[in-house]
Structures are given as C-alpha cells and as structure tokens.
Symmetry: C2
Subunit: 582 residues, 2 copies
C-alpha cells in the first residue's frame, strides 16, 4: 500500500482514519501483550502499537530491531498518555499490518540528536549521522534557503547561469585544484575559486542580471571552518548604482531571515567606512552588538619617555586602548590571561590602568607623567570599576590584537546580547595590500575591482592611496557577503594589472580574454557573493560548517566515508601522461 502520510505528520486530525506509513524503528518496547514501536521518518516520530490479538502482526513485531525499515497500516487513535514534546504526541497507530522492508545491523552510534559521537565516526558513517533529526533538518533548511533566494532573485529579473567547473588556472589568489587533460597532455584545467570572470563576461554579453549558487574550490590548508569545496550565491548586475544594489541585496537577506528563520530584520543597513571599522573595532567585519571601541591615545603619550610607548611611536606605530567595565576589576590572573591573548596576535604585551575605589592602579603609572595618566583616563572616560587596556605597536598589530581582545572580553563579560542582529555594509576598502612575502602590491579584494571614481587618478601616482569600490555585508561580526563594482574599461584594468606587478605580456597571457571582452562594449557592472555555507550556519545556529554540508571533508581534505582521495589505476596515470613523485 502506498504511503498516505509521513510518520511525523500523523496528528490528532486523523483520529479514526486508516493510515499507511513507512519509516525506521527508533525505539521498540515489548510489554508482553503489546509491542510499542516509535517509527521515524524525516518529518518526525509516531508511536505504533501492536496488540497480541493480531498474531500475524505481533509475530513480525517480535522480529523487529532498532533501525529496521518497516511499513505499517493501521488506525489512528487517541493516546491515553499524551507526549507534549512531539507533534504526534496525542495519538498512536493501532497496527493492522506491518511488513519489514529491510533489516539493519546494529548501528555504531544511536540515531538521536543527543548522542555525543566521535566526529570521525560520524563522518565515516555520514548516512547514519544525517539520519539524526537535527542533521536532516539542517539539509532541509539549506534547501529552503536556496529556494527562498532563488525565488527572490528570479522575481527580480535574475537569470541563473551555470559556468564551467573545468576552467583555466589563474594563479592570483588562493591555490587552485587542477585537473590533468588527457587530450592535451601537459595541460591542466583548474577548478574555479569563483566564477568571477565568467560572470563579468556575462555582463559583457548583456545578460544584465546573473546569479548562480556556485560550487567553488580552494586548495588551502584547512581550518576548522573551511572546506576545500564550498558554495557561494554568486550575483552580478549591469548598470548598478551602489545604493540601489545595496537595497536589492538587503531585500534578499530580509527575505531569507523572514522566511527561513522567521525573524524580521531592519533595513536599510548602516554603512561604515573601512577606516572607521578598523580604527574603532580593529576589524573589517566589526561586531557592533557591543561597545568596547578602540581609542587612539597616541597624541596623549607622544612625548612620553616610557619606552613601551615611545619606541613604536617613533617608528610609525601607535598606542591604542579599550576600556572594560567590571565591578570587580580584573584579577592579576585575568590580566595575565588577557596579555597572553593579545600576544597571540603579535602584541608584545598589554598595559593596563584600573580605577578601583577611586584609586588608580597600574604597573605603568610610574613610567607616565601625571598629565599623561590623567589624559588617558579622561579620553577613555574611565570611572570607578573600569580597566583601560593598552597596546602599543605597529598600527596593524595594535588594531588586530585590540580588535580580537574586544571580542574576547565581550564574550568573557557576557556583553553580547544574542538577540541583537547587527547588519552593516563596510565600504571603501583599500585597493591594494602590500604582500611582504612576494614584495609587491596585490589586490586587496581582487584585481577586477573598480577604484573609487575620485581615486582613479592616484593609480598612476600613488596606488597605495587608492580606495576600492568594494563592500562587505557584515552580520554580527561575520562577513556574510562580499563584492564590488568592477572595472568595465580595459584601460583602467590594464593600469590595475600594472600596479600589481603584471607586465603587459603576463596580463595578456592570463587575462587576455577579459581585456578583450572589456574592449567590445562592456557595461558598468558589479556584484557580490554570499558565503552560502556560512549563511546556513546562521540559519540553523551552528558554529560547525560540517553540520550544514551533506558530505563534508576533514581538515586534511579527505572524505572518511568514500576514502577520497585515493590511489588510481596505473592505466589512468598513463592515459593522462603524468607520474607521481615520491
């Protein structure tokens, strides 16, 4: 008999009806004259009862074990003792017929959300891990989020286009995964790090509005929150004004939060200049759910003879501080822990000034003049119970360490209201970063990003000062999307290539097709890409990227279930004309 309902959907509205369900045995209790089965499918669990006045069914029931797959036909009746925790808790199904559709070996772990299982065992038996209700729900939320985004984009004139996975290696950015060509031995395809150039060329085609939920690849050393393949919602439009594009994207995010998470977010989002974000929050993705803003106190101490301050200031560095309020003040041990924390970000130490019971306490007080000490306290508006925490170093190290410290302290002191949802556009990123390893300027975003119109003239004279028309969408301190207005004129594109050290010949070799495309009537265009995996992590409230990807890889980029990567036949290598090297 065909299924009439999902297990999890048999509620009291069907009392008195005959239903046919199929599912997995989550629990079995044999009471002698009655056998109770909890039957589970993706929608939930329902209780079935086999009575021994139905000997045929009862015999089957006696053979059943956990995770057997069964089909049941029976009548829905009211349950004597309701279970308020589940949707089907007011009813049970009196089994008329039951068939075993498949048996099951004993599973290596229990199929419940609660069981705490070794992560590698979960990955090895991913099909069982995914059987856990929370994991199945994550997959369903992911699918729904994709649907909501597609519907929104479709309703706004976007065309979904699939761009190639077998494409060209352009060693700018992260390391490529490559694929040897059998037909052209010695040549390789690369898997795309993003569909960037294809989407720009689709704008040259006049497609006008493009999107793709695109698989992207980076062969990087993996951190816990990275995967070798990941998904981005890739978007590009022609003839954009930045503000109308922001509005369009805010509408998209609003729809996702509303339809998937059931929460209404406020638009428009605040804009924040990159410089402001760095100076106040020490981060280009500031979490603005709490204060603890960074203050520059260099001016106050610029004449100080205290070496810890004087030395960085004399070599272009800075002295900055945040103020933490804690009724108790920090203990010596806590200060040591905070000091160790900033050292991880390269800071040499952490100076502090506390005010407690009206008294100033500080190990550095003796090195500062009274004027300097009071100047710092006044600027930081410190009062009783406050501790001023100071880092003096290069600008980069100071901001990085204080930026991390403010988040660390906010978590420690429980300053973050988890109900707040703070969205921001961070704008006007620098165009170029200096790469010390390669001793050259590199594109901070990517080399196809347009400079701000008012900074274009600096490309020839002072590239370091050029700001990019790039933007990130930041949510509670996470970058959930990043993008830019692109260069649409081949002459400007050539100047940017030159600024990052590409000769004309190299630029032609790598990006000739883009330059040519731009020369045949490219429209002004720009776009964005959402980190889809991260977005789903926000939707289901997990901090583990593996919880939102059906078949993820480990931090050594292997799939514990299929055992990929693995060796391949000699014949395959021969056909590809490659050899592996010890």
């Amino acid at each position: 008999m065909e299924r009439t309902h999902y297990c999890g959907n048999v509620t009291e509205e069907f009392i008195g009806q005959k239903v046919s369900i199929k599912g997995w045995v989550a629990k079995r209790r044999d009471l002698g004259s009655l056998i109770f089965l909890d039957l589970r499918d993706r929608e939930g669990i329902v209780q079935c009862v086999i009575n021994n006045d139905n000997p045929e069914a009862f015999q089957v029931g006696e053979k059943i074990r956990g995770e057997y797959v069964v089909e049941v036909v029976g009548e829905v009746v009211e349950r004597s003792s309701a279970n308020p925790n589940i949707k089907t808790g007011k009813i049970e199904i009196i089994v008329e017929k039951i068939n075993i559709l498949n048996t099951a070996n004993t599973t290596p772990f229990y199929i419940t959300d609660e069981s705490d299982v070794d992560p590698n065992l979960r990955l090895k038996h991913r099909y069982l891990d995914l059987r856990r209700p929370k994991m199945l729900n994550n997959l369903m939320v992911r699918s729904k989020t994709a649907k909501v985004m597609r519907d929104y984009l479709d309703n706004h004139g976007f065309v979904e286009v699939e761009t190639p996975i077998l494409t060209k290696s352009t060693p700018e950015g992260a390391r490529d995964y490559v694929v040897p060509s059998r037909i052209s031995p010695g040549s390789f395809y690369a898997l795309p790090q993003s569909p960037q150039l294809f989407k720009q060329l689709l704008m040259v085609s006049g497609l006008d509005r493009y999107y793709q939920i695109a698989r992207c690849f980076r062969d990087e050393d993996l951190r816990a929150d990275r995967q070798p393949e990941f998904t981005q919602v890739d978007i590009e439009v022609s003839f954009p004004s930045r503000d109308s594009f922001f509005t369009l994207m805010e509408g998209l995010v609003k729809d996702v939060f509303s339809k998937v998470k059931g929460v209404e977010i406020q638009t428009p989002f605040k804009h924040m200049d990159y410089q402001e974000a760095m100076n106040k929050y020490g981060s280009d993705k500031p979490d603005t759910r709490f204060g603890l803003e960074i203050n520059d106190i260099s001016e106050i101490v610029k004449g100080s003879e205290f070496k810890v301050f004087a030395s960085p200031l004399s070599s272009g560095g800075t002295v900055r501080a945040i103020k933490a309020s804690s009724t108790e003040g920090f203990s010596r041990k806590e200060i040591d822990e905070l000091t160790d924390f900033v050292k991880r970000y390269g800071a040499k130490g952490l100076a502090w000034i506390a005010i407690k019971g009206g008294e100033v306490k500080s190990p550095i007080a003796k090195f500062l003049s009274e004027e300097e000490l009071q100047g710092i306290i006044t600027q930081m508006e410190a009062t009783d119970g406050d501790t001023i925490l100071i880092v003096a170093d290069t600008i980069k190290v100071t901001l990085q360490s204080l930026g991390a410290l403010r988040i660390h302290i906010a978590k420690k002191l429980n300053l973050i209201d988890n109900k707040l949802m703070k969205f921001l556009w961070v704008v006007n990123f620098p165009m170029f970063d200096y790469d010390e390893e390669e001793d050259r300027y590199v594109a901070a975003h990517h080399p196809f990003t347009s400079p701000l119109a008012e900074d274009v003239h600096l490309l020839d004279t002072d590239p370091t000062k050029v700001r990019a028309n790039a933007y990130d969408m930041v949510y509670n301190g996470q970058e959930i999307a990043g993008g830019s207005i692109r260069i649409h004129e081949d002459e400007i594109q050539k100047k940017v290539f030159k600024a990052i050290g590409l000769t004309e010949e190299m630029a032609q070799e790598k990006f000739g097709f883009l330059l040519e495309g731009l020369s045949f009537g490219a429209p002004p265009h720009g776009g964005i890409a959402f980190g889809f995996d991260r977005l789903i992590m926000e939707m289901v409230d997990t901090e583990n990227i593996r919880d939102v990807i059906a078949f993820p890889k480990t931090t050594s980029a292997s799939d514990l279930m299929t055992q990929a990567p693995s060796t391949i036949d000699e014949k395959q290598l021969e056909e590809l004309k490659i050899e592996t090297v010890k």
Copy 2:
C-alpha cells in the same frame, strides 16, 4: 539616472512618458539633421532619435559607433512608420540626454541572429556570441526551465542537496577526470560522473526525496553532442512504486512543456518493453511518430538456400525487413545510398523487393522460391509503390542498421510530423551486457540497479536472463531521462557485484561504504536523471548542445575563450608531487 525600463519593453503604453534606458547600439543611421539609434538590451531593441535641435545630445550621437554602451533619457512618442516585427515597433524615444558609458572596438562579427559565423570564432568571443538575441534567449529559457523544475520538485516534497565534486574514483563506467591531492601525494579525487551513490546514501539517511541540478563529468572522446561537463536533474525517492514514480515524473515534464514551451502534453505515457522497442524499432529509444516498423521474416526464409539469408540464420542471426512506401519507388541510386547507409552500422548489404505497376522487382527474386517471395510480400503487407528493405545479419547488427534506416528513410520521405510529441517509458532493460573487450558481463545501466523481483532468482543461475527494473523516458526518439529502482539489500548488491566479476575484496575496496550503508536499514528507493542540456535543446529547438551551454568546450575539450586547459607553474606541479611525461 537609474534605468526605468529595459529597451525591449518600451511599448506604446508608455507614450508621453519620460524613460531612462541603457543598452548597446545595434544600429546607427545618420540622416544629417537626425541620428537614429537602435538600442539593444536582453529584452529587445528600441529606436531612439537624436534631433540636431538638441546640440549637446547630437554631438554625443555623432561620436557613437556600433556596440557602444549608452544611456538615454527621453520621451516616448508614437512612431510614424511602425515596425510590426518588434515589440517596440509602434514607438520611438526622442533623446533628451545621452551618455556614452563605454566605447567598443569593431566586433569580429555582427551581433545578429542571422550572421553565419565560424563556430570557433563564436567560441573564442563567446561573450559576443552570447550577445546575440537568440543565444541570450537560450540562457534565459535554461534558467526558466530550471526554475519550473525546482518549483515542481519543491512543491512535491523534494529536498535539494549538493553532493561533492571532489570525490572518489570508481572506474566502472566512463573515464574519470581526476584531481591530484596536495595533502595526500599520490592520491587523487575524481569528479563525479553522477551523484549516484551519494543520492542513494541520502535515501539511507531518510531524506526521502532528493533532487539536485548536478554537474557531471566524463573524460570521453567527445562527439558533437557531448560535453566534458554536463548537467543532469538528478532525482531519488524512497519507498517508490514504479507507477506512482512515473506519474510524478510525467507531471514534472508536463509542467516544463506547458510553462516553458506553452504546449500541453498527454499523460500518462505509454510503457514499452525493451524487447518490443528493440524488435519493432531497432532502438531502445524508439521514435514512434511514424511507422516503418521492423518485421522478422526469418521464419519465412528459414529454409532458403539463398546464402545471404541462410548463412546468418545458421549461426543464430536473423532476417528482418522494413517497408517504405514511395509512389515513385526508389531509384537505383537511392537504393545504393541506403545500402551505404546500413553498411555504416555493420550490415553487409541491403536486399530489396519493390512492387511497381503490379510487378515485383528485386535483384534477389531469382534466389528465392515463389513461396518465399510471396510469403515476404504477404507478411509485410506490401502493395503497389512499396519497397521492402531487408537486412540479414546477427540480431544486433540487423536491429541497429534497420533501426537507423527507418529513421533515415522517415526523414528522407518526410514522414515525421514535427508537431507530434511522442513520449514513452521504455522498461525492463536487460540487467547485464557482455563486454567483448573486457570479456565479462557489465551492468547495462549501472550495478546499483535492482533486478526485477521475478528475475532475482536468476542472478545465481543465469545472469544473462535477468531483467533490470530500469526505465528510460523517451521523447520523439531521444532519451531525455533514465533511471531505475535500486538495490536496497546488501546481499543482492553483493550478488550483482559478483556477476560483473568483482571479487569480494574488490567490491569492498570500491563500494564498501555503499554495502555498509545498505546494511544499516536502507529503504527501498529509486530514481531518475534528466539530461538537462538535452532537455533545453528541445525547449529552444536546437540540435547543437553548444547553443544551450553558456561556456561550452570544443570536441577536443578545450575552451577557446580562456584557453583552458593550459600549462601550469612548475611550482604547482612540485606542490602536487606530480610530473608530466612526454
């Protein structure tokens, strides 16, 4: 000023209004006191007029060349001489302001549907090729088709899941594309030929209904209608009955044809047994828009001394025929052409018997008895004007050549009504094919296909007779989808692996994770995959797969635009610990 309309949407309903449009200059005519511009965007073309009483705009107009990108603000007025061929043909826009947003070099070919351009030039400048209205429309139809399918599947409880692209090489089926691992030197990922095992394991998880518009990869020698990467709409369900699954899939196709092509198709589709398809049509994807069915005349000629018939019959072969009706009969030259045609399919020749003016004409008549000759004419129901075409050979060659011949003749004689839409389910394929090259049985569909329940017992005794619970959806002689009910019991799966020559050890090595998955409570399940590229070809009426893929590759698997594949840096090879071999 922000765009108010797409060029192609400015119709007479906007007469008297001011509009702002942006687009490409498709045509420019300078009449001295007036400059006419046809402005094009993805929605169509609109005529703009610059009058020399607007000197500022006129000056800009004088600089404009073909494919420049411009923005125009102006008033919509009625046109004096309407152009009935375009949607905007009743109006024109009197230019108030015009700006050049980007210039354009002279394009290597004209951007119109009509221009006949070298295919390689089109691929090199794909961004210009896609600018042609028909090509842009193909991309939009592709996007719309995906949307319609997703909506249908979503409304029927399907969950979209992304499966890995970096996965395990399982050298069963076509050749894999492989990706060397940097972290595990000597190991390789493979790009998926289909997400087959992942979708089955998602059923083991209890996902119940899965779909994905999935990129798949095959490193095969390419024919004109193949691409190294292609897209399939991949579907899997748990607890299916074959009939209810067919109904579900017919609904999906009905929706696509109705919403994308605007035609209503009849459901349910006819079912045809594989054997019937082969015997009547010489094909497992018969085109049933016309007759010309194949007849087996072996019985009639089984006693014949005519060597051409006797020889194949004595060695297990067959003699079969089709009947073509043509008022004129075929000329000698036409018969020669048909003979050459069947030879391409391995036939040694083509015998024929024509009836013309009441007389039987046939070069083989003298080798046949009168009884045999009349027997053939009677069985074929041949009358005046008919020609009987006969192939005698092995069953395989005979059916293949006559199957191809009936299509060839149908096209030649214009027997195909292009308005007909004939859908079929071809069912009950053989489970195993004999691979002569490898001298072993291989899975005809794939080794995860379930045998028909009534044939399972033959697995141990006579595997060649086992029929598979596999099915193809055939439309006008094209396979548009193929699938099967899968094996859900590990013991049967092991038997099938054994039948195709895998030892227990090999089966564990390659498919251990599947066998294990099946052992922990796998539900009965089955599915299908639609060839998405081919489906779009039907939607836009093209026979060229490159017309429906944004950035396709050539038959030597290269991308003429980006020049992929290409050489990569020595450093990349070193990191991957591989070397290329001359």
